[in-house]
Amino acid sequence: MARSISPAIVADGLAAAYRDRLIWRDATFTVNTGEFVAVLGPNGSGKSTLLRLLLGLLPPAAGSLEVLGKRPHRGNADVGYVPQRRNIDRDLPVRGRDFVHLGIDGDRWGVAVGNAAGNHQRVDQAIQSVQAQAYADRPIGRLSGGEQQRLLLAQALAGKPQMLLLDEPLASLDLRNQIVIAELVAELAGANGLTVLLIAHDINPLLPVVDRVLYVAHGGVAIGKPAEVITTEQLSRLYDAPIEVLHDSHGHMFVVGLEAESAHHDA
């Protein structure tokens, strides 16, 4: 198939802006099919903006961008998306299963007629693939953050995408669940040949599964292996400020100096 030889994402001299406010520019990178890329960077640096560009919700301010060999466009069935999760209302009278179902036919007009059995089977498969059978029939607002995250992942998978764009799926999860969800995403991506871009705050739960890191900071973008990008020299250059990367005995990485930088950046 063509997609196995062509890269999944090609960005060349890409810039992102909201109206006339430039977020970042000169982003040139390629993500290969089947790669698992973690997107890191301080708050407000434009990580979610990158996903909006890839989804076709925001046009590039400059440069070119190709997603799965085409210009990004809304309604691309090949791209599964899980946005950053605001709180789901506890009393929302809708099952997790109904959320998953929307991933298959939520964009079709009218009410569901015909092929109902086929779609229910696909919903079941998607729920099984994230091991959410036990609670898929309960109101989604009553589930824990990790359980909701699995079902939303199932929703994205139900559409049978080739690429997953996940915005902070590990946020508000405890460390154990962060590792579990990261491994689940990696496993599903491997089994289905999916390309994954996952926005995260902390690289450590992702270190065992991630191929490369895309760092968005200070109006620019850098990509490479974690050990290449998350270094004192690279980050200091990217931020144009003294940043220090520390390692503990388990190989975990800690970036020091970011807090002051992002606070300054946001102000």
Binding site: L92, D98, L102, D107, G110, V111, A134, Q155
Partner: protein, 304 residues
């Protein structure tokens, strides 16, 4: 009007066939049942999404804006329904364009609502007609409905239900998960506007039955009750429609026998049904929680 017929000593008893025959004996009751049913069906289907989208207060405000429209229409010499539709649809389009930004705007919505009632008051005074006009719009006048009104209501109600069904899945998607729906190509903003315009039509119809002030009973109450008993959207929509129809039928039937206004009966039935639903669904939820807990503990035990 019912007083005219009371001399015929309406039958009431265990013979349900005779009761039904009695209820449909007069044209005004037939019209009331016909219009009431179609209004209830459209109120039920749209009400489900009103509650799910958190737009109950906005829907309530729309009906008040309709009061200014209806009284204004009479003042310039046209039918109240024309003013109702023009005012509610314009206001609905603005609200729909605001979309999510409408949430939490209670103060702004409330002020527009109060001003609309004030305008309606002014128009009523300027018209120098009897207060019956205003009372009819505020509290409904289902027993005074003509066969022509029934025809108009039927078309409007039919279109409302069809439109909601036509956008059912993307509307549900946009309601539950706006960001993903947008990325998937669902026109969320256009849907938001279309929904509010359709709601405006449904509100204008419902005003005929329960009036501007009692609209909550038909649009919000059935849906709010339905959402306490089912977690499946399709069943929720159907249950809301069934409940709205039952409330209307029960209200009309009781009002046929008793000399009190139908709006009072419909709102009373809606209110006590909601109370009952809260009590019952609370009990159901507690039983469900009892069933679920063992699984939670098991899950926690198995986790590393």
């Amino acid at each position: 009007m019912p007083e005219l017929y009371l001399a015929a000593a309406p039958y009431f008893g265990w013979d349900l066939v005779r009761v039904v025959q009695e209820l449909f004996r007069y044209a005004f009751m037939q019209h009331a049942f016909e219009a009431g049913t179609i209004v209830a069906l459209s109120a039920g289907v749209i009400g489900y999404f009103v509650v799910l989208r958190g737009l109950s207060f906005a829907a309530h405000a729309l009906s008040h804006i309709g009061f200014a429209g209806a009284t204004g229409a009479v003042l310039v010499g046209t039918a109240p329904i024309v003013g109702l539709l023009v005012f509610t649809m314009s206001a609905g389009a603005v609200m729909g364009a605001l979309g999510q930004r409408l949430r939490g705007r209670d103060v702004t919505i409330g002020l527009v609502m109060a001003w609309s009632l004030g305008l309606g008051l002014l128009f009523t005074r300027l018209y120098k007609g009897s207060a019956n006009l205003a009372i009819g719009i505020l509290f409904g006048q289902i027993f005074g409905i003509t066969s022509q009104d029934v025809a108009v209501t039927f078309v409007a109600g039919f279109v409302t239900v069809l439109l909601v069904l036509a956008v059912y899945r993307p509307l549900l998607f946009a309601t539950l998960d706006e960001e993903v729906a947008e990325a998937k190509g669902v026109p969320v903003r256009a849907l938001s506007i279309a929904f509010m315009v359709v709601l405006a039509v449904a509100v204008s119809e419902a005003v005929q039955v329960v009036g501007v002030l009692l609209i909550f009973a038909l649009i919000v109450a059935p849906a709010a009750i339905a959402e306490r008993f089912t977690t499946r959207p399709s069943r929720g929509v159907l249950l809301a429609m069934v409940l709205a129809v039952l409330f209307t039928w029960a209200g009309l039937s009781i009002a046929y026998y008793l000399p009190y206004p139908v709006g009072f009966f419909i709102t009373t039935i809606a209110f006590w049904s909601y109370i009952l639903a809260r009590v019952l669904s609370g009990a159901v939820a507690r039983r469900a929680a009892g069933r679920v807990r063992p699984w939670r503990e098991e899950q926690a035990r198995h986790s590393p």
